[in-house]
């Protein structure tokens, strides 16, 4: 915990920011616990960043290390840009959670355990020869041992639950205690429980009782020196109405906003279930009232085909997947490029190759997005920097796809998809407007007539009289749109397709420097979800007096037109990426800059310290251990 002067307003100590990790079995409800803690944190006015980290197995065997599900939240008054490198408070509902999550706990940090779960069977499953609560293995930490199982059972007793049902309320007891520790309210959680269990009032009441009991336990338990309450200051943020937003929600709502901005009546979102992209399909499936048609296709190929067909017919065609599924869409992307139709492709990247680690994030589809197609097949590639930016980037993707009649790939990732942040809610009236014009004039029409400025061809909806025409994947004549195998024409068309995408660089913001000067000794260049970690690391290094700047690239194809010149104004360029070095190679190839790569491919986001150490020139700190992957779709 970043500790400021120890003061105790109302008997509470002040903390600038705190990192809490809830960890337990996949069936222990840790994601729900974390989400509710997040909501109460948001309502208390703190800034926050979350990191849900769960196994691919739906229900891994109870008590096993590979079945541990965790939810981390970093909250505080200032500089909360990542879910936090290391953990101040670890809530471990069983021995497996303790052993898996221990390595991220700060020395001197707090562990809260349910003693009841530390029985011989669970200890054995977690690989403990001896009970760590009974020897000195946790001596470096503050260990708060409570029989949460028993305390919960007592709290819910009046409601007559079975022992199994009572056991499922443990997470609410732990949540109640943590809410007390940080002085948060319980109101929103109580309301949520009442809504969630509206048809099972007894279960709702029992969970509320457990929540209240955990809270009361903090309030009334004998205060030990470790068992104190804290206050975390509110964040100084822009005034306005806020909510939490996950990357998935940001993308879904941004797509709807983009469709509105373009004046398009209908979106056809076609997907095929795949981790971690399915959440977008689920979210959009509930937006029928906003002109959204969702289509669960028979496979990834059909999903991209249906989306392209919808675009051909004048709707906004959107498809989504993760790396392995995007690979299957490659052929359709080629057709979209050849026929010059708008198409939005959302890629929630995960660790690979092949099935890889479905629930673990990576940024390793950059090459696939930019270059992964047969022939010369350019398209636009964008990457959001945060969950809130997912909203803006989706709108931008719609703008570029419709204005330039091109597929646009948005590179999100498994971390952004599930993480959440506070978000200043935009007003529809303040959103950009870029209405599309469908061609209706038959005068001088042919389907590949280009706009002299954008080089985009006209968008014609079937149903428009006198504009009947044929398009397809075969090369077409520049001047008539008819099939052509003429050699010079193909060269001309290849160049036209390339020029069109390259020209987008004139229609996007110049590359800015997120932090620091526009020249100097070192530029740390990132893209995508690593924004927070890089930004924080550069800030720390600058506070230490280092000459370093942070540049974050949102437009990956084409690059902003000043990017090359900008990079050349630094002595060194360092490119941290959650892949084996992809942006670094694109930058080197494009600009002949001697950029250095810095890879992290553990399936976990960069820690701020990883990047700070690298900036300082030291060896990267040891990795936090191998990620626990698993098998999943």
């Amino acid at each position: 915990m970043a500790t400021s002067a120890v003061s105790r307003p109302g008997g509470r100590e002040t903390r600038d920011s705190v990192v809490i990790r809830f960890a337990g079995d996949s069936g222990d409800g840790m994601q729900v616990t974390g989400s509710q803690f997040t909501l109460e944190t948001a309502l208390a006015g703190s800034d926050f960043s979350t990191f849900p980290d769960f196994p691919a197995e739906i229900r891994a065997p109870t008590g096993t290390t590979f079945g541990v599900s965790a939810f981390q939240i970093h909250f505080g008054g200032t500089d909360v840009m990542t879910p936090g490198d290391s953990v101040d408070v670890l809530v471990a509902m069983n021995p497996a959670a303790l052993t898996v999550e221990m390595s991220d706990l700060k020395v001197g940090g707090t562990v809260i355990v349910d003693t009841d779960a530390f029985n011989e069977r669970n200890l054995k499953k977690a690989g403990y020869a001896k009970n760590p609560l009974e020897d000195d293995s946790l001596a470096r930490y503050q260990v708060l041992k409570f029989d949460i199982t028993k305390l919960t059972a007592e709290a819910v007793k009046p409601h007559g639950l079975s022992s199994r049902e009572a056991h499922l309320c443990r997470n609410m007891w732990a949540l109640g205690l943590l809410l007390w520790m940080y002085g948060h309210e319980r109101t929103a959680t109580i309301e949520w429980l009442q809504r969630k269990f509206a048809k099972k009032p007894v279960i709702a009441a029992a969970n509320i009782a457990a929540l209240n009991a955990g809270h009361a336990f903090g309030e009334t338990a004998e205060m030990t020196e470790h068992m104190v309450g804290y206050v975390v200051p509110k964040a100084a943020v822009q005034a306005g109405r806020y909510r939490t937003v996950s990357g998935t929600e940001g993308l879904a709502w941004g797509l709807v906003a983009g469709m509105r901005a373009a004046g398009i009546e209908k979106m056809v979102f076609a997907g095929y279930p795949i981790t971690p992209a399915s959440a977008l399909l689920h979210t959009l499936a509930n937006l029928r009232a906003y002109g959204v048609v969702t289509f669960q296709a028979e496979d990834e190929i059909a999903a991209s085909g249906a989306a392209l067909g919808a675009s051909y017919a004048g709707a906004l065609g959107v498809t989504s997947s993760s790396g392995p599924g995007i690979a299957l869409k490659t052929e359709m992307l080629g057709l979209a490029i050849a026929t010059e139709l708008p198409l939005i492709v959302i890629d929630s990247q995960r660790a690979g190759p092949s099935t890889g680690m479905p629930t673990k994030a990576e940024q390793s589809d950059l090459f696939q997005a930019v270059h992964g197609r047969n022939a010369d097949a350019p398209l636009a590639v964008l990457a959001p920097t945060s969950t809130a930016d997912c909203f803006d980037i989706a709108i931008e993707a719609v703008r570029l796809a419709t204005k330039y009649m091109t597929p646009v790939i948005v590179l999100s990732d498994g971390y952004l998809a599930h993480a959440a942040e506070p978000w200043l809610i935009p007003r529809e009236a303040d959103l950009p407007r870029f209405p599309v014009t469908y061609r209706t004039d038959p005068e001088g029409f042919h389907p590949f007539l280009r706009d002299p400025e954008t080089l985009a061809r006209p968008w014609v909806r079937p149903g428009t009289p006198q504009l009947e025409h044929r398009i397809g994947g075969l090369e077409r004549d520049y001047d008539s749109g008819h099939i052509s195998y003429d050699p010079d024409n193909h060269a001309r068309m290849t160049k036209a397709r390339a020029d069109k995408i390259a020209g987008i660089a004139n229609d996007i913001p110049l590359q800015s420097v997120s932090l620091g000067e526009d020249h100097g000794k070192l530029a740390v260049v990132g893209w995508g979800s690593t924004f927070g970690a890089i930004h924080q690391a550069v800030k720390i290094a600058r506070d230490e007096g280092q000459n370093v700047a942070h540049i974050h690239v949102r437009y990956l194809s084409p690059f902003p037109r000043n990017l090359g010149d900008l990079l050349k104004r630094y002595d060194r360029v360092l490119v941290p990426e959650m892949n084996n070095g992809q942006l670094v190679k694109l930058l080197r190839a494009e600009y002949l800059v001697d950029a250095e790569g810095f890879s992290k491919v553990t399936g976990k986001p960069f820690r701020v310290t990883d990047i700070v150490q690298r900036i300082r020139g030291g060896a990267p700190p040891p990795s936090e251990g191998s990620g626990l992957g698993g098998e999943a779709g």
């Binding site: 909510r243 029928r288 067909g309 017919a313 809610i425 529809e428």
Partner: protein
């Protein structure tokens, strides 16, 4: 497919032809199919701007280029998926999928299965020539065992798929078969397919003059045709032969057909009877091949069941669930 409500009775078959030179091999069965489709369009008065022909890859897939309607020549086997997207975007369009045995049953077999089971309102016309033409003569999924081709020099050892049996198995609610050379029957069949609301599947036996010439001669040959084809019609007995002297009936006590000399117990075709359609679709020599509408039993089509509205307030959406106010 529904009949479009607006018609243009003035248009002649030639008005449905585009200005592009037709580039199939001389003598190809596709010419006859193109002619039949254009005639059917004219007869039905299809509105050109509301009609879309979608195709995948192969000889048949060139079809959209030769029509004066909207056309989308897409990629291998994917036309059903793209056509589904078109119907989801605009259910009012009259969408045809032109495919072949390789495109529709091999590389695109999965899409064909699902577009039929979903019952998307499309006219799906499958040109079956039992060979890969555009790629120069390899065997296809409908090629008979023993078919010699560049990729099967010793003859194919694979069992062919029956297009109509596949369609019925996939849950198609309109399945018909015709022949490129049976011009009048083909036009009638296409009109029936178009009148059907939902996915209509028509298999057309089509002769590839270059790589698989006369492969259907045992069905279409002038001499053998009367005995080798049974043209089915709803409500009429399943009779065939030069003088309609032969008929099909259920073998007593078994779920199979047998040939009888015209007798009172010859089956009467009921196109709403799926098991009968399956028996007819699967007929092989020495039985005659069944031509006509084997099955027609409409149900609400997929795109009509999709629920979508417009006009929901984005502000309301973004402010749904918990929000909080930060005051200056």
């Amino acid at each position: 497919m529904t009949v479009t409500t607006v018609t243009d009775a003035q248009l002649a078959p030639k008005d449905y032809a585009s200005d592009q030179e037709v580039r199939w091999c001389p003598g190809c069965g596709d010419y006859a199919i193109l002619k039949a489709v254009q005639k059917a369009c004219a007869d039905m008065g299809l509105v050109r701007e509301r009609t879309v022909f979608v195709s995948g890859i192969g000889c048949a897939a060139r079809f959209p280029y030769y029509m004066s309607t909207y056309g989308f020549h897409t990629v291998h086997g994917r036309a059903p998926a793209i056509a589904t997207g078109i119907k989801l975007a605009n259910p009012e369009l009259d969408v045809w999928v032109m495919t072949g045995d390789g495109d529709g049953l091999s590389i695109g077999g999965n899409h064909m299965l699902h577009v039929l089971r979903r019952n998307v309102d499309l006219n799906i016309i499958l040109f079956n020539n039992e060979i890969y033409g555009l790629t120069k003569g390899q065997y296809s999924p409908t090629s008979r065992r023993g078919t010699r081709s560049p990729s099967t020099p010793l003859g194919s050892i694979e069992n062919p798929v029956s297009a109509c049996a596949f369609a019925l198995g996939a849950g198609a609610r309109f399945v018909a078969r015709s022949i490129d050379t049976l011009q009048a029957h083909l036009i009638t069949t296409l009109k029936r397919a178009h009148a059907h609301h939902g996915a209509s599947f028509v298999e057309i036996l089509q002769n590839c003059v270059v790589f698989n010439d006369a492969v259907f001669e045992n069905i279409t040959g002038k001499e053998v045709a009367p005995d080798a084809q049974v043209v089915v019609e709803h409500g009429k007995p399943l009779l065939f032969g030069k003088n309609k002297e032969k008929g099909l009936r259920l073998k007593p006590g078994k779920l199979e057909l047998e040939i009888v000399l015209a007798a009172p117990d010859v089956l009467v075709h009921d196109e709403t009877n799926r098991p009968l359609a399956q028996l007819l679709a699967a007929l092989e020599p020495p039985f005659p091949a069944a031509m006509g509408v084997l099955y027609c039993n409409p149900a609400t089509s997929y795109e009509r069941e999709v629920v979508v509205e417009t006009g929901g307030s984005l502000d309301a959406l973004l402010n749904s669930e918990r929000t909080w106010e930060v005051v200056p």
